[in-house]
């Protein structure tokens, strides 16, 4: 449970940090690097979310479909 909730705050933290890095990189004039940072942060977060959704679907399948 506590581990679960940590994941949400991890995702939010990654989002805020990526946004900060993006701002700094843009002000340094490296727009392409900022794009890459955003993309990689997004992929990491998407992977975490996909793992969780897989967990949820597996549980729902247990409850509803395979009685």
């Amino acid at each position: 449970m506590s581990l679960d909730v940590n994941t949400i705050f991890q995702i939010a933290g990654i989002g805020i940090i990526v946004a900060m890095i993006q701002t700094v990189l843009k002000q340094m004039g490296k727009d392409d690097w900022a794009q890459w940072v955003t993309l990689i942060g997004f992929i990491v977060i998407l992977y975490m979310a996909a793992t969780l959704i897989d967990d949820l679907f597996e549980k729902i399948r247990q409850v509803f479909l395979y009685m």
Binding site: I8, A19, I53
Partner: protein, 133 residues
């Protein structure tokens, strides 16, 4: 005290998503999606209790197992398609949400075909008896 945890989590995530939204919209969306997944994961255990109760009642009443399984599947499909449609609506993709709901409705209709057939069969069996009796 599950409800306090869930409401607290929901409020925290709401404000986090509000902060994230002005920096990066996608991250805010994923945070709210994960929060929704967590709340559902917490609720799955309660749903399992209700489903067990329904199952027991159906077995005590000697109902046909196929119909009960179909009804449980239909409830599950309704929950999942509602969840997906709301996520899509959150992201502003109303048309995708509509398509998800449409698919859910259609699949529920297809799953209900055996039940409908059984009803029609029953009525057809009753008809000659009533006519001849």
């Amino acid at each position: 005290m599950d409800i306090l945890q869930i409401v607290g989590l929901g409020l925290a995530v709401t404000f986090l998503a509000l902060i994230l939204k002005e920096k990066n919209q996608v991250f805010a969306l994923i945070v709210s999606l994960v929060a929704g997944v967590f709340i559902l994961l917490m609720m799955v255990d309660q749903i399992r209790l209700v489903m067990d109760m329904l199952n027991n009642m159906a077995q005590n009443a000697h109902l046909n197992n196929v119909y009960v399984a179909t009804i449980l599947k239909i409830i599950g499909i309704a929950y999942i398609s509602e969840f997906g449609a709301q996520i899509a609506k959150d992201a502003g993709q109303n048309s995708i949400a509509g398509k998800i709901e449409l698919a859910g409705k259609l699949i529920i209709l297809v799953m209900a075909i055996p039940i409908l057939t059984a009803i029609v069969d029953t009525v057809m069996h009753l008809m000659p008896q009533m006519g001849g009796g």
